[in-house]
Structure formats: structure tokens, C-alpha cells
């Protein structure tokens, strides 16, 4: 299961990551046996419906899940720091983890309003990580903060820096969140649905901004979204998540040219396409994603899969490589490969 990220040095290798959380309804199997790797400067897009475990996975990479809600965790998160050392974040104590958040990895959240502290001026929120991690003094930190605001495209940065979050529009707030995340030049940026709360026009601005900053800093990025369209043209690799598992993983182009997993196909077909004529009937996926409470037997997508076979309900499909394809994996007994003769579903 090695990914040949040949050109760039490897930054992150996640193997068999499993996270189960306590909840009032029972054990939540939020992340199950997730593996992937990411090289410097590359973008991994993670797509899936809400409740598929995307945010839990992102937070567990950052070590941001509250300890007491983790019922079980296993797997390794190998992170290559600057001096080419390899550290397992999964084993790292909170204290050391804190030093990595900021300079090594940073996160951008979905809701820009709740990610910012409403009672603190932007200047305070921006300079704090700079002073803490980079040891800048007050004046240096302030001028660096103004640079950062300007870099994320906020006009009149010097004037804006003394404002409060509520004085900014949603798009500007998300820019500020990004500026804070970038303050210490992280090697990895995790963006958890950074544009879901925003308009299309602002969404494009923010995604373009992220792409530009990524290029400038050779930063790796994990871009989480529920919109295939957002990652389609912006990610190098795409991982499709369903019920806590990565059900398909491939380079972006390969995924769209030869998708293998029925869920990927269903997700793709349910999106209205701008090039289709009006009133084109959408192929909705029936039902809802499962609740992830307690372990289920068999393929989690079986109740909604149009290709389901009896075997799918009895065994959990393992992750397998697509023959003759590079870095293309899926977890389905009956993948959609054009060459294979596929029987129709039994219901």
C-alpha cells in the first residue's frame, strides 16, 4: 500500500487510523482503518456526506479530539519534520503536540465565526501564535500580522487589524482564519470545509487563495468537503469517505475517469451539473448514511448500493488495489470496472 509520491519528499503517512468515540447513544465508529500518505506541496481532497467521519479524522490528525471522548484509538500518524525525522503523532503527548500545531500543521474550520474569538481584536488573535511559536516581540508580530492579512487579500490590512470579527463579512472572516492558520508557515494545512458557509463567489476567492498560498509555501493540504466539485480541480489525490472508511482513493484525474466504488459513482451522479439541460432528473442516493453507532457487519453502503450482492452484507470488503492502475484503491467486492462482467444487484 505504498504511494509513490516520487517527486516530493513524504510528509505524512497515516496507517490504519481508527478512532471510536463515546457518545450518549453508544460507541461511535467515526474513523475505521484509514490509511493514506501525503507529500510536501500536495493536496489530498477528502469527500463524503456529513457524518462520514471527515472532521473526526482531521481533528485526530491534529490531536484536537477531547481525550475523554475517545473510547479507542489505534494506528499510526507518521509526520516528517523539517530535519527529516519521523514522529508518530498518535503516540505523542499533548504537550509536544502543542508545539507542532502552528509551525508544523494548522487547521481551518468550517464556520469562520466560531473559529474566531468574538471579543478579541484581530491583532490579538493574529499576533498570539507569532509571539508564542516564533518568539517575535510585540512590534515585529504586529507588522508580520499586517503582512499576513494583506497576503490573504484583506484590503487596508493595517486599518482592519484593530477590528473585531463581527465587523467583517463571512468571506473576510474566513480569510482571517486562514491568515491565523498560516501565521507560522505550517508544512501541512488541514482545511475542514473551509467554504461550506460561504457564497460561490467567495468560495472561489478562498479556494484560489488557498491554492496560491500553497504554491508559495510548498505546503501540503488536506481539503475536506462534501462537494466533489470543490476538490475535482484542486486536489492531486482524492479520498472518498463513507461511514468512517476510505472507500476509494485515487489521483484526482483517475478517480473521475475510472471510478470504481459504487458510492463514488452515486455521489458523482447525484450532483446537478451545470452543463446538463434544465430539468435533468438527478440520480439521488436513496436513504441516509448510517449512524456509525456500534460496528456493522458487511459493507456499510450495502443498504443504499444499487449493485449490492448477498456477500456484501456478510463480509466487510477489504481495501484492494486496482490492477494496472497506479495508486488507485477501493473497498468494494464488485467494483465498477469496465472490463469486468458485472451482475445486476439482487434487489
Amino acid at each position: 500500500m505504498t504511494d509513490a509520491n516520487q517527486h516530493e519528499p513524504l510528509l505524512l503517512r497515516v496507517t490504519g487510523l481508527t478512532v471510536r468515540l463515546n457518545s450518549s447513544h453508544g460507541l461511535v465508529h467515526a474513523v475505521e482503518d484509514v490509511s493514506f500518505s501525503l507529500a510536501r506541496g500536495q493536496t489530498l481532497g477528502i469527500v463524503g456526506e456529513s457524518g462520514s467521519g471527515k472532521s473526526v479524522m482531521a481533528r485526530s490528525l491534529m490531536g484536537l479530539l477531547p481525550r475523554r471522548s475517545i473510547a479507542f484509538g489505534s494506528g499510526s500518524i507518521l509526520f516528517h519534520t523539517d530535519n527529516a525525522q519521523e514522529q508518530d503523532l498518535a503516540q505523542m503527548p499533548d504537550k509536544l503536540m502543542r508545539h507542532l500545531r502552528g509551525p508544523a500543521m494548522a487547521m481551518v474550520f468550517q464556520d469562520p465565526m466560531t473559529a474566531l474569538n468574538p471579543v478579541l481584536r484581530l491583532s490579538v488573535q493574529l499576533t498570539e501564535p507569532l509571539r508564542q511559536h516564533l518568539g517575535l516581540d510585540r512590534q515585529q508580530a504586529r507588522s508580520r500580522a499586517i503582512e499576513l492579512l494583506a497576503a490573504v487579500g484583506i484590503p487596508d490590512a493595517a486599518g482592519r487589524i484593530d477590528q473585531y470579527p463581527h465587523q467583517l463579512s463571512g468571506g473576510m472572516r474566513q480569510r482571517v482564519v486562514i491568515a491565523i492558520a498560516l501565521a507560522c508557515n505550517p508544512a501541512l494545512l488541514i482545511a475542514d470545509e473551509p467554504t461550506t458557509a460561504l457564497d460561490v463567489t467567495v468560495q472561489k476567492q478562498i479556494l484560489d487563495l488557498l491554492a496560491r498560498l500553497q504554491r508559495e509555501h510548498n505546503m501540503a493540504m488536506i481539503l475536506i468537503t462534501h462537494d466533489l466539485g470543490v476538490v475535482a480541480s484542486r486536489a492531486d489525490y482524492i479520498a472518498v469517505m463513507y461511514a468512517g472508511r476510505i472507500v476509494e482513493y485515487a489521483p484526482a484525474r483517475t478517480l473521475f475517469t475510472s471510478m470504481q466504488h459504487p458510492y463514488t459513482e452515486a455521489l458523482f451522479k447525484s450532483i446537478p451539473r451545470i452543463n446538463d439541460p434544465s430539468h435533468t432528473r438527478l440520480q439521488a442516493i436513496p436513504g441516509r448514511p448510517p449512524q456509525l453507532i456500534n460496528a456493522a457487519v458487511g459493507c456499510a453502503f450495502a443498504p443504499r448500493c444499487q449493485y449490492v450482492q448477498p456477500r456484501c452484507r456478510q463480509q466487510t470488503p477489504p481495501v484492494v488495489e486496482v490492477p494496472d492502475a497506479r495508486e488507485h484503491r477501493h473497498a468494494c467486492f464488485y467494483p465498477i470496472s469496465p472490463g469486468l462482467n458485472r451482475e445486476e444487484g439482487d434487489d
Partner: protein
């Protein structure tokens, strides 16, 4: 305000809803916010009009002004040959039932303390119509809810998509002519979004509805609409049939909007037409202090001196295609 009939209003006898010179102002402190200014459009029987624009441009305000919730500051809303803005009291209540609305946040649209069955029957109960269990179950099954198991539950026991179905059932129970959908799928997951969009199309056919569909997702609007109206900062920029607007947008703002859509299929993306357009820069101006002349001029790459001086009026740009711009990209 001009007394001249705006050119985008059509001379047809199957017009169900006509909005003419609609303006809505809100007093915010000492300022007046011009949320909607001089907007005119019409919707013919069986048609779906899509209303698109950025957040805060006045889409929801138009939807509510049509319902007279609250009534607009100026203009007329003609429905069933009556101007609703001059109606009040009982007459207004009566006429209003012909128009129903579905909102963006399905959860906050349902009273958490009432049972689904009562919520759906509410309109029928108010008007003393047949609110029997059979009638309620009929609408519930029409929207794909299982009346037996869902009827006695309360809204918080349902997912967002299911709540949206309940909202749709509630509005259909009164047999309206016009359904105003205010971003009904924006809060939903893509897979559920497709379910709800299909459901709306089915309900439209089954109950012979006319729809006003508000959204900011252009692909969704294209999928469901026969005609599209594009708004910017309280004003209409461009209106016309969907095909014309999407294949040949002539207003600079419409172009910018279309250029910002991420396409799910990187291979199918037709970059030729749109990607050369300069991107929309800067922030939306405040509606309390809109720019003079053309409201889009502060962000328009084609703006010229005339745009600041003179307000552009709607003009024909093709067959059933109208644009408000001094220099349309014909």
C-alpha cells in the same frame, strides 16, 4: 420610479404572479437599508423562476415581500388578478394561502413542540378544510414520509432532509398555486439535495405548481428552473430563459457568477468561455449606501464613467432575455 412597464414583463394571459417595481427598505438605526430596489418580474403558470445572487442581495426579502411578510415599501404584487399590497386583514390572509413558502433551515421552520401530523394539518385546521388523517397521510406519502411511523414524532427526531420533506408537505396541504422555495437545499448534503430537488419536480407536476426557486448554487438553479433572474445588491441584473442565461450570459456579473462555479467533472469543464473572464474582486458594498448609477460598478471589470452617472435599465438582449447594463457583453 418609472411608470413605464418594464420590458421584461411579458404580455401573456397565463401569468400567475407578477411583481412590478418592488422595493423593500429596512430602517436599521438611523440608516435605511435598500434591501430590494425596483425589481420587476413575472412567472407564468407551471413555470419555475430561479432567483440567484450572493448572500445579502435581497433574494429572501423578495420572497417574503411577495407573501407580504412584511409588505414591500413600494411596488405591486399581482396574484390572482389582485394587487396583494393593497389587501389587508381577512382578504390578505385568504389570498396568501394561494402562495406558500419553504425555507432554507428546515429545522427552524418546524415548531419543535408540535407533532408532525399537527404541523402538516395546521393550514387545513385554520381554514376549516378537510384535516382528516386520510388527507394528512395523503400529502405525507406524496413527499415520501411514512405517515404511520412519522406522524406522531416531533421534528427534532428527523434529519434535515426529512424535515425539509415535512415542510414541503405542510405547504402542499393547502393546495397553493405558487410555491416560493427559499434556498430549500442549501443546508442539505449533496445526496439529500438530489432527493429534495427530484421531489420538488415531482410535486410540481403532481400539484400543478408554479415555483419561485431561490438559491445561490447556480447548478441547482439551472437544473430546476425554466427562467432565471440574477440579482445584485437589491437589483435585477439579468433575466431570461435558463438556456440563454447559462449559455450566453451578457451581464458582467452573471459571467462572474458562472465563472466561480466549481465543476464536479474536471474533464467536462468548458473553460474556454468563462475562465478568461476577470474574476470578481473586492467585497459587496453595503446596501445602506449603494454605489451611484450601476450598483455593480465598483466590482465590474467593464465599468466606465457612464456607469457611475446613469442607472442602467432593463433592455432586451435576445429572445426572452433581458439585461440591465450599459455595456452588455453581447
Amino acid at each position: 420610479m418609472t411608470d413605464k412597464t418594464p420590458c421584461q414583463l411579458r404580455e401573456r394571459d397565463d401569468i400567475v404572479l407578477r411583481v412590478a417595481h418592488l422595493s423593500v427598505n429596512f430602517a436599521v438605526g438611523k440608516q435605511t437599508v435598500q434591501a430590494v430596489t425596483d425589481v420587476s418580474f413575472d412567472v407564468a403558470r407551471g413555470e419555475t423562476l430561479g432567483l440567484v445572487g450572493e448572500s445579502g442581495c435581497g433574494k429572501s426579502t423578495i420572497g417574503r415581500a411577495i407573501m407580504q411578510l412584511p409588505p414591500p415599501s413600494a411596488g405591486a404584487v399581482i396574484f390572482r388578478d389582485q394587487d396583494m399590497t393593497v389587501l389587508s386583514g381577512e382578504a390578505l390572509r385568504q389570498t396568501r394561502t394561494g402562495l406558500q413558502m419553504i425555507f432554507q433551515d428546515p429545522v427552524s421552520s418546524l415548531n419543535p413542540r408540535r407533532r408532525v401530523r399537527d404541523i402538516i394539518a395546521e393550514g387545513l385546521t385554520i381554514w376549516g378544510r378537510d384535516n382528516s388523517a386520510a388527507r394528512v397521510e395523503e400529502v405525507m406519502s406524496a413527499v415520501g414520509l411514512d405517515a404511520a411511523s412519522a406522524g406522531d414524532r416531533r421534528p427534532h427526531q428527523f434529519s434535515g432532509g426529512q424535515c425539509q420533506r415535512i415542510c414541503i408537505a405542510r405547504s402542499l396541504a393547502l393546495d397553493p398555486d405558487v410555491l416560493i422555495c427559499d434556498e430549500p437545499v442549501s443546508a442539505l448534503d449533496v445526496s439529500v439535495q438530489a432527493q429534495i430537488l427530484n421531489l420538488l419536480e415531482d410535486m410540481k407536476a403532481r400539484y400543478h405548481l408554479t415555483m419561485v426557486f431561490i438559491a445561490h448554487n447556480l447548478a441547482v438553479v439551472k437544473n430546476i428552473s425554466d427562467r432565471v433572474a440574477v440579482m445584485y445588491l437589491g437589483k435585477l441584473c439579468e433575466i431570461g430563459n435558463t438556456e440563454a442565461i447559462y449559455s450566453k450570459p451578457v451581464h458582467p456579473y452573471t459571467r462572474a457568477l458562472l465563472a466561480s462555479i466549481p465543476d464536479a467533472d474536471p474533464l467536462a469543464r468548458e473553460q474556454a468561455l468563462l475562465d478568461e473572464e476577470p474574476l470578481l474582486q473586492g467585497e459587496l458594498p453595503s446596501p445602506a449606501d449603494p454605489p451611484s448609477g450601476c450598483r455593480f460598478r465598483t466590482r465590474c471589470p467593464y465599468a466606465q464613467e457612464r456607469c457611475a452617472r446613469e442607472e442602467p435599465f432593463m433592455q432586451a438582449a435576445g429572445d426572452d432575455h433581458f439585461v440591465a447594463c450599459h455595456f452588455p457583453l453581447l
